[in-house]
């Protein structure tokens, strides 16, 4: 019964949406069937857009992972680096991405690289901060245990800190993947030319031509993308830490 609850909610929302759409003109609120229809008609463009936005999100995640995980490891090794740079990483987090995107267009020109950068920027901080917290999460006795047997810094990192950090880092990725999709789409709003086509571009262009059903279809596609990325992180969590984390 409790497993069915989320589906029940989805069904109710769909019903409510459908009922409400009957009272409104399509250009304001298309119904579920109209959105499906628009999605089917534009399936090639939507599919290609989904793929390109996915590439920008994943590329951004990869860049942010490199800098975030590498940065957290350096912070651990050299604490003065952390004191020097962490405040700015935190500050960067507070600058709205929508304000940065036009600057990126100036620097990078129109195209997918803007989306790649905005995706990387928005998901960088959760990765850095979760890795930073995770790497210093071993207890004092765990650290002393390794110290007692003469473990080197690298041994302590590999045998203790990295595995210990996994639950925290993966929790960070749970929010980072959703943010990367948001970042990519914001980048596409501002910087995409429509060639190659992307979800952000589809949302903007269809809403400008009052094709609200296609806008909805593109929004749904981006939700599907975020959902797939999120589910992937959950699957990795189950595989990597499920056997030992959260039991005691």
């Amino acid at each position: 019964m409790s497993r069915a609850l989320p589906f029940l909610v989805a069904l109710l929302v769909l019903l409510a949406w459908w009922a409400l759409s009957l009272t409104q003109p399509e250009i304001l609120l298309p119904g579920p069937m109209q959105v499906l229809e628009a999605g089917w008609t534009g399936r090639v463009r939507l599919g290609t857009g989904l793929l390109n936005t996915a590439l920008s999100s994943l590329g951004g995640l990869a860049i942010a992972s490199g800098i975030g995980l590498g940065g957290a490891t350096l912070f651990l090794r050299f604490s003065w680096l952390e004191r020097a740079f962490y405040p700015y990483a935190l500050f960067m987090q507070t600058v709205p991405i929508i304000a940065i995107a036009p600057v990126l267009v100036v620097w990078l020109g129109y195209g997918a690289s803007v989306a790649l950068c905005t995706a990387a920027i928005v998901c960088f901080f959760p990765i850095l901060s979760s890795a930073n917290a995770g790497l210093s999460s071993p207890s004092r006795s765990e650290v002393e245990l390794l110290q007692l047997y003469g473990a080197s810094w690298t041994q302590t990192l590999i045998k203790l800190r990295l595995p210990r950090a996994l639950p925290t880092v993966l929790a960070g990725y749970r929010s980072a993947v959703g943010l990367s999709v948001i970042g990519a789409i914001v980048g596409e709003f501002v910087g995409a030319t429509g060639d190659p086509v992307s979800l952000g571009y589809l949302v903007i262009s269809s809403s400008r031509s009052a094709d609200t059903a296609t806008t909805f279809a593109a929004v749904c596609a981006s939700a599907v993308l975020a959902g797939i990325l999120f589910a992937t992180v959950r699957a990795i969590e189950g595989w990597a830490i499920g056997a030992w984390h959260g039991h005691s």
Partner: protein, 235 residues
């Protein structure tokens, strides 16, 4: 000869508070020495000084060359490693691999059939025994125990005491242990050092008058009762 010797040992925390100053203490080879004292007096810190995890501010901590092992109050097993991988960790860190030695110590603590299980699937007592096995795998000459038995229920604790005494008799290592349980101190140790502080000072050293090997019946003799009362009065 000594297993550990504190000579004129002083240790000051970074905030300027002194943990101890001019402390002298010796653990004899092969003996079990128990430290007892009020909470916060500095027992764990003395153990960490003995292990070399902390460096003295002045004076010296001397240990003959040889393996040492530390058993923490919590089992401190790495949860992503199976029991045998946990026990093998000390060997692994110095680039050794000795599966026979790992199985031998797991047998010693009665966990051989659980070797491939993850710690989360074991009870607290079993985890503590695994932690003991890990300490023994390097054939240490000195074993440091920081309230190693205190988190266990009474029955499990008694069993582990007996198992520990047997292993100690067979292997002949020296033991420096901290406990807040006077019964346990008398029952296991050759000498009990009563501490006060902070800053930590030796209040009294009590020679335990119980024969070895120890038997459960000794716990109920008048001699044991008298020693226990003596210790209680000191604290």
């Amino acid at each position: 000869m000594y297993a550990v010797r504190f000579q004129d040992l002083s240790f000051t925390w970074p905030n300027g508070e002194a943990l101890c100053s001019g402390l002298d203490m010796v653990v004899q080879p092969g003996e079990i020495l128990a430290l007892v004292g009020p909470s916060g007096c500095g027992k764990s810190t003395l153990l960490r000084l003995a292990a070399g995890l902390l460096a003295p501010s002045s004076g010296s901590v001397e240990r003959p060359k040889g393996e040492q092992a530390f058993v923490f109050q919590k089992p401190t097993l790495l949860p992503w490693r199976t029991l045998q991988e946990n026990v093998a960790l000390p060997l692994e860190l110095v680039g050794r691999s000795d599966p026979a030695a790992v199985i031998e110590v797991l047998e010693l603590v009665g966990l051989a059939e659980h070797a491939t299980k993850l710690p989360v699937t074991l009870s607290g007592g079993m985890q503590m025994r695994a932690s003991l096995a890990r300490a023994l795998v390097t054939q240490p000459e000195l074993v440091l125990l920081d309230e190693a038995f205190s988190a266990l229920d009474g029955l499990t604790r008694r069993r582990l005491h007996l198992a520990f005494l047997e292993i100690w008799r067979a292997k002949g290592f020296s033991v420096l242990m901290v406990t807040h349980d006077l019964d346990e101190a008398l029952w296991l140790a050759d000498r009990v050092v009563v501490l006060e502080g902070p800053p930590v000072r030796l209040k009294q050293v009590v020679q335990v008058e119980l024969d070895r090997p120890r038997a459960r019946e000794q716990l109920h003799t008048p001699a044991f009762g008298a020693q226990l009362q003596g210790l209680e009065r000191l604290l």
